[in-house]
Each structure stands twice: as C-alpha cells, then as structure tokens.
C-alpha cells in the first residue's frame, strides 16, 4: 500500500492547492472565500475573452469530440461559443470549469452541462435527464422543458427552466437555486440538503420527500407532501428574495409571490443532523 503520509505526496497535493489542512466539516468553506476567489483557477482552465465569439457545429461530432473542441476554443481565448445542431446528444458541455458564455441552438440529451463551475449557459431548446448535475457555480437557462433529475446534487449557481420539468428535480441538492417556470413532477426536492427550489406551476406527489434542509417555494397546486416536508410561513424577506430572483431569472417577473407556499424540512427524521461531527463537539 502506498504511504499516503509521505512528505512528497503531501507536498504535491498542497502545491496544487488541493488542501492545506485536514478537510473536515465546514472548514472547506475557506476555499470559497471571496477574497481568494479572484485568484482561484482550476488546473487546465483558460483565460477567455467574452467579446471573442465563435460558432461550433456539432452535428457530425460525438459528445466527446464536441466537448474537446469546446475546450480547444476556450484555449484559444473564445469566451462566447454558440453550439449549433446539438440534436439531443448526451453529455454536451460537461466539466466546464471556466467563466464562459455558452449558447446551445437546440436541445440536449442526458447529462448536459454536468459537473460545471462557472459558465453562463443558455439552451434554446429542451434538456434530457440530469441536466447540470453537480453544478458548482454559474447560470444555466433552459428555454423549453427539462427531463427528470434536473439539477441533481447541485452545490451552487442558478438553474432555470422556463418550461416544465420531470420527476426528482433537485434531488440531493446541496446549494444553489433551481427555478421552474412550469410544472414539476413527483419527488421534487427529494433528499435535498440545502439550497432553494422555486416552482411557479403545479408540482407532483411526494414534494420534498426526506428533505434534510433547504426551502421549496410553490406557486401552484401540490400533489402531496413527502415524508417530513412541512409548510412554513412565507415571510416578507422571502417574498423580496423571490421577486429579485425571478427578475434575474427573466421568468415570472409579474408573478404574485405573496401567494406562494413555502415548504421546509420538519427535521423529524431519525437520522437528521444539521451539524457536522466537528461542530457537534462544540455545540455540546
């Protein structure tokens, strides 16, 4: 077995900025300190110019080829890339860790825009299952409908669908905001841990099932509540935030947010624990 405590390995990891201390609990927040953010770049990312624009026709490309070409274009400094003819291909635009303006002229298949951190994306079509899974930061706007598992496990950023979405939207999400202009399917917010979901239309059965934390706002009818999902008071502060967010999202600007329902976790689940182990010691 390799000696993971060897000085050389430890030094290499630290040199790459992966960690400078034992990563437990919320100490990870140190890496998202805004004072440091300007100097923070992922390995292999590019310095791009938003005014430098190009088109990329992916009609005859595989997803891997298309993604590689997007990376090549970013390497050449292109900060605005328009993707033509995506034609429902899977896994397009994944793993972009740059600031980038990305526009898709058409629809995406499964896992589009997965594991991204930073890009501003507009999809002038529909997306399949698991769009923007694990999004860390940035903004993804879908002009039409979306499939199931929309925004699964996102940690940050804004994910906006102007149409309707399938089941399990925001499953396991840990941060960020998901905004739906139309209806949402069953198990929306299933096991969500943090973040916010806004649905202007109706939502299916088992809303917020087993949610640990976070907030869901619903403008229409609710099929049924999931386990441990409960109503909460919609405050003035909530309404102000909703108005701001909907305006930024270019969706439902005139929507009457005062009539929205607010759903949170009842925190009665046997395994619910809001504290990381290190914090629990302090609390005791």
């Amino acid at each position: 077995m390799a000696n993971i405590k060897s000085v050389s390995k430890k030094t290499k990891a630290q040199a790459m900025g992966m960690h400078t201390e034992v990563l437990t609990g919320r100490t990870q927040q140190k890496f998202f300190n805004p004072d440091e953010a300007e100097n923070f770049y992922y390995f292999g990312t590019h310095d791009v110019d938003f005014n430098k624009r190009t088109d990329l026709d992916v009609k005859d490309m595989t997803a891997a080829e298309a993604n590689k070409e997007i990376d090549n274009l970013m390497g050449q400094g292109y900060g605005t890339i328009v993707i033509k003819n995506p034609q429902g291909k899977h896994s397009l635009g994944v793993g972009i860790l740059n600031k980038l303006n990305l526009i898709f002229e058409g629809s995406l298949g499964y896992f589009g825009m997965g594991s991204c951190d930073g890009p501003i994306v507009r999809i002038n079509g529909r997306v399949g299952w698991s769009c923007a899974e694990n999004l860390m930061a940035g903004k993804v706007v879908i002009e039409k409908n979306a499939g199931s598992c929309f925004g699964a496990a996102i940690r940050g950023g804004d994910l906006i669908c102007k149409g309707s979405v399938g089941a399990r939207t925001g499953i396991d999400m840990k941060g960020g905001t998901i905004i739906i202009g139309g209806d949402a399917g069953a198990f929306t917010g299933f096991m969500m841990q943090r973040g916010r979901i806004i649905i202007l239309g109706d939502v299916g059965i088992n809303l917020g099932d087993s949610m640990y934390d976070g907030t869901i706002f619903v403008g229409g009818e609710i099929g049924s509540y999931g386990s441990d999902a409960v109503d909460a008071e919609l405050t003035k502060s909530d309404q102000d935030w909703l108005k701001r967010k909907l305006k930024v999202a270019e969706i439902g600007e005139n929507f009457d947010v005062s009539k929205m329902k607010k759903i949170v976790a009842g925190k009665k689940l046997w395994n619910y624990d809001n504290l990381e182990p290190t914090e629990k010691k302090g609390a005791i």
Binding site: K89, G128, K144, N145, G147, G166, G185, F187
Partner: protein, 314 residues
Amino acid sequence: MCGIAGLIHRGKSSKVGHELQGMLQALKHRGEDSTGYALYGDTDGKNFIMRFKVGENVGEGSTSVAEDVSVYDERKKIVDSYLNEMGAKIIKEERILPYSLRYEIEYNKKDLLEFSQKIESIPGVEILSMGKSLEVIKDLGNAKMVCDRYNLDKLVGTHAIGHARMATESGVDIKSAHPFWGYPFSDVSVVHNGQLTNYWNNRRALENKGMRFMSECDSELIAVYLAEKMRDGASLEEGMKESLTGLDGVFTYFVATKDSLGMAKDTMAAKPLVLYESDDLVAMGSEEIAIRSILPQEIDTYDPFDGEVKVWQI
C-alpha cells in the same frame, strides 16, 4: 436498461419500418441483445397475418440450444396441417429465415384463443403476432441487423412500436424479446422498459384465470395483464390506468392496437420517456435522440409526468 420507441401518423401512412429502425438504432447503446418491431401496416383488412417461429436464433450470443433445420421443417408441417384442420386457408406463405415465417391466412372465426392454443401446442412453435394489420418481428441483434434481415425498411403503415433489449432477467432469445403480442387479441402489442417486482404473484393469478405466458420475461406480464382486462370488458385505456396500481415496480410501456397507440408511466416516474406530439405525428422514445432520428429540426418535446397514461388514435 433497454430502450423503447414508438410513433403514430395521424391521417396518413408512412414508411414506419424505416422510421422505427432509425429510432431504435439511435437507442442501441441501451441494449442490442435483441430488437423487436411491432408494425401496423396498410392492408385490406381481410386476412390475418400470422408471424410465428418454429425455432430460435442460436447465433449472436443466444442462450438457446441449437437444433437441426429438419426439426423446423417438421414443426412447419404440423402447423400447416393444424391450420387446415381449423379451416384456416393459407393465402401467402413466406419463410424469411429457417426459424421465422409469415403467413397470410383466411380465417373467419373471431376468437383466436382456441386457434392460438392449437398452434402453440406444437413444441417449439410460438405465434409472435396475429392480426389484420400487426406484424411483430423480433430477433437477436441491433435494430439495423434485424431490419435488414427481415427487409422491414419498405413496410408502409400508420404506427409502430419497438424495443432495443439488454437482457437482464431472462435469456437472450426471441421468445424473451419484445414486443409481446397481447395474446389472444388480434392486433395488440406491448413494449416495456423497466422491472416489474410483482411478476410472479400476477403471473400465478393470471394463469389461474386461463391466461398464457410464453417466456419468463417480466415485460410479458403487461401484455397478458392488459389482455385479461380487455377480455373482461375494459377498454385499452381503462386497462392501462388499472395497471398503474396493479403492476408494481418501475416501468414505462407502450401498447398499440390496430388503430391506436398508448403510453403509461409508473407513479415513481423512474423510467425515462420523451414525447413529441403534433397534429399529424406523435413520436416517443426513451431518449430524445430517438425522436431526432426522424425529426432532426428543432421541435418541442417533453417528459410525461408520473402516473400518466395517454392514448392516441390514427
């Protein structure tokens, strides 16, 4: 994982064999152990078309045991004699492959149960479909291979459903391949993506009511379940709605009849489906790329919600 696709033209006919081949080939990464087509062709509606097999494809990763072609010949002879006994007249006969045949037959009785039981009493013989428009063609391999083998490209009709199979719970053979005929109902076929967890309970109950199963593939249960509901007087749509609670597990399935096409999605919405609907065409599949194979231009599609049942007429 499996992939399913279906389309229905409303008010016109088209090369549905070619279109479905494109849709299923686009889904081949979801499974290419076997591929099946249920095609509803343009016919004069006078005679029955019976697609049946007298053996299995033993190549291409098959789990079946090889048999001599002479065994197939013997079975075919018995089928012919039984048809003669039952007063069914063979109008046209095609032996597409040594084990796969297509008969056009004149048969005037409405009840196909006795007919089917008689034919399938011959060991190794299975009716894949029986109908005045429906033809079920299924074999091992991907959509293109099956389409080429059976020359389906030119078949003109109104609607079709199909299945690209990754075998998980039963053998790699034709009898476990989809679509399943809604035995013994003329022109009913089913394809399914998912797993049914109360298969054996339902199967035992349905067998006690006299229904027939040909495979141990859980998907066959849907065809038999719907056939039993229709036998008891339910409409197709009513039977499909009942299936949402009667069948346990995760599923999206399509069912087609002579003049309609329907879809049902379980209450967990655990299996994918993308749908395109316009005045003259409905196309749906497990993934958007299936629809894009026939409609490359930008279109509006959506995912049906949990527990949704829809039926369209031609």
